[in-house]
Amino acid sequence: MSPLLQIKGLGKSYPGVRALDGVDLELRAGEVHALVGENGAGKSTLARLVCGIAQPDAGRMILRGRPYAPQSRTDASRQRVRMVMQELNLIGTLTVAENIFMGRMPRRLGFIDYRGMNARSRQILADLGLDDIQVDRPVAQLGVGQQQMVEIAAVLSQPCDVLILDEPTAALTAAETRVLFEQIRSLRAAGTSIVYISHRMEEIKRLADRITVLRDGRHIATRDAADVGIEQIIRLMVGRDLSQMMRREQSHAAGNTPALRAANLSRAPAVRDVSFELYPGEILGLAGLMGSGRTETVRLVFGADRADSGAIYLNGSPSPARIRSPRDAVRHGIALLTEDRKQQGLLLPRPLRENITITHMRDVSRLAGWVRGGRERSIANRFIDRLAVRCHSPEQPALSLSGGNQQKIVLAKWLFRDCPILIFDEPTPGIDVGAKFEIYQLLADMARAGKAILVVSSDLMELMAICDRIAVMSAGRLVQTFPRDQFSEDRIMAAALSGYLAHGATA
């Protein structure tokens, strides 16, 4: 069978990172082709190139035997290549029907034919078993899972030969996932070629015909799904045995007073009655699916949001700490390294120097608030050297650095503040493997120096490699905590899913 889409030597660089490096891939008509790899392995980059969002700087693609070089997403969909994005691509204030028919709304006498459009939208959703979604409601009023299904519906409602799904089930309930899988199977039967990107091994085993593994932007292997086991795929993804990734001596945390104790934290609807203890010298992981309330929980601890109820106790103190703003948290020695370093962590156009010292200006100023320029520069240089940030000068704007080095600057600003409790929300998103290991090493060093570290991550491998304990959240509750000798992907995954099984379809 001749392939539907051939990808030959595809390459793409971003400043500081070779995101994709000479990747070959063949897609057959009527197959589900799973694309797996660690975060930053190049899966999303490859998907973006295939559906025209970005253009490759090396290699070529051949679609149905003819050269294929989409210049835009519209261009790609005209050639029947479509994609469901990882990030939602909907316009919240428009209705479900308007979103489904975005850019191709049916018209009558120059006006939008709302009646016809709504009727057809209802039909499209009904085909996906989504009769309960009202087509004339603004999308923003739907839950995240339903929004995701609307987005999938919008893509599926148009003819396509190549369909790319990038982490489509991250926000879906089990029931919605089942509907999606049925749809994927019937598309496959109709001859559509489906690229399925996911971290979820069970899904891939259930769905995929073939599996391609990417690592560090390179093609590592393509196998028939029937021939490989999950462990084998993981070994290919990681490129080394998990046990060798990180060797951390057991922390000596047990028995000490906890540096931080969260008691019954709640904030409706994301966080429900969450309690945990964090000890000095340990790395505690917070695992869970997207939307399970992990980020919301650490934001409560940091005072970025107000809790409805619950309390934080520090260093064994019997009275709760008064944390009503990030400023209070920092004064109590708690640092939060946010998930989104560009939106919430950095002053992108400002020099590295200013990004580093912002957390503790008092330390680099005189009494009346005059900045001590020399001291500030030497501090910036010191942290840049200590974290081996690749840059030319501390006067360089933060936006000129690669993702990994930007993340090191975020780290630097909190190292400068020297908080005894550090919370990392996704410490390594979009970072290449080399920088990742440097950051893991730093985390281990800080724990050894007695810091209490809480790490939120969607990357289970990451947590299992670096943490002493992993607490698992599911549907807003902290359901189970695993000590290091009981880490297992299956059991943690089961715990992460447990809250959703019990409560049914309440995403």
Binding site: P15, G16, V17, R18, D21, D216, G217, F302, A304, S325, P326, R327, A329, V330, R331, A335, L336, T338, Q343, Q344, G345, L346, L347, L348, P349, R350, P351, R353, E354, I358, T359, M361, R362, S365, A368, G369, W370, V371, G373, R377, N381, I384, R390, C391, H392, S393, P394, E395, Q396, P397, L399, S400, S402, G404, K413, R417, D432, V433, G434, A435
Partner: protein, 339 residues
């Protein structure tokens, strides 16, 4: 490994943001403005020989000293990503308070001035409080204040012009040293302090940071509310000082003073390289921007240009300056990435 694929680590050289590097970028920032200003002066001086004279200089600068003060405050406001439309009205209100208290209330001048400053502070506090308490856009809050303050001005003056003829306030604008008035030295002092605070104090650093990414600053453990509040208070207080300088020139309080001033000032500040989006700007740049607009107006007048044409040309220059600034910034950004 991807590690090796990254840009090779070039040893960071002596250029670690030393004093010399800083002065160089500073000069570069102002070079375009200074060149435009010099060109304008040169052109007008050639076309109109009387233009390049001390009399002309005084005629251009002295009446505009209050505008300079307001521009300093506006620079701060724009840097934190806000806007203050109320400056002209606050100026008229505080001037009216001083005038009415002195003329009808027989208050001694220092007391009247203190009351004026207090009024200005209240206006600024109100602006800032409404903005930070309910997270309202400063555009709409200060637009409200613009109308409120103007309305109050006319209420308390009954649309009359209270006189300060014998108050002695005029000495501020009379020649003193080298034939230059105290108001000029005072304004220069405010410019210098304004720029120093912006570049060399923690407050200045926070202002720029808040304008760049307020959420990131908040999550860095900085309380951003007092910073925003202070900036709006400073803006209103500078408008009050502008009112005092205006009183000293006119020797009466005009309830119609400062109309449309906010627009002229915002234009000047933006021409001077301050971003309307916040996070970027300098006090000195704003002053140069204001000078460009003033020289342009005066020069065109000296050439006998009609008022309508003057407005048209000024409008074009403002738009051109902003476009020019866009390209200058892109150049800087690409230079920074390539560095």
């Amino acid at each position: 490994m991807a590690q090796q694929l990254e840009t090779p680590s070039i040893p960071r050289n002596a250029h670690r943001g030393g004093m010399r590097g800083r002065l160089f970028t500073l000069a570069l920032d102002y070079a375009a403005l200074v060149i435009v200003l010099t060109l304008l002066i040169a052109i007008f001086s050639i076309r109109s020989p009387s233009f390049f004279s001390r009399a002309q200089f005084s005629a251009m600068v002295n009446p505009n000293l209050p505008t300079v003060l307001v521009a300093v405050g506006m620079t701060y406001v724009l840097i934190i990503g806000g806007i203050d439309l109320s400056v002209g009205s606050v100026m008229s209100l505080t001037g009216a308070v001083i005038g009415v208290l002195h003329e009808s209330g027989n208050a001694p001048l220092p007391l009247a001035i203190a009351a004026g400053l207090a009024t200005g502070a209240v206006c600024g506090l109100l602006n800032g409080f409404l903005i930070i308490r309910w997270n309202l856009p400063s555009f709409i809050v200060t637009l409200g204040m613009l109308l409120i303050a103007r309305g109050m001005t006319h209420l308390i003056t009954a649309s009359q012009k209270p006189s300060l003829l014998f108050s002695g306030i005029h000495v501020l604008s009379e020649p003193m040293v080298f034939g230059l008035p105290p108001s000029l030295f005072f304004t220069i002092g405010i410019i210098v302090v304004g720029q120093l605070v912006l570049s060399w104090t923690v407050f200045g650093r926070y202002m720029i940071a808040v304008g760049t990414n307020e959420e990131a600053v908040r999550l860095s453990g900085v309380n951003v509310r007092p910073i925003k509040l202070a900036v709006f208070v400073i803006s209103s207080l500078l408008a009050t000082l502008a009112a005092i300088l205006t009183l000293s020139r006119h020797r009466f309080a005009d309830p119609n003073i400062g109309r449309d001033m906010e627009l002229e000032v915002i234009a000047a500040v933006v021409v001077g390289g301050t971003s309307l989006m916040g996070g970027r700007g300098t006090v000195i740049g704003s002053c140069l921007g204001l000078l460009i607009i003033i020289v342009l107006g005066a020069g065109l007048a000296a050439l006998g240009t009609r008022d309508e044409v003057k407005r048209l040309v000024t409008g074009c220059v403002i738009v051109a300056a902003v476009i020019l600034d866009y390209y200058r910034r892109r150049l800087n950004a690409s230079a920074a990435t390539a560095a």
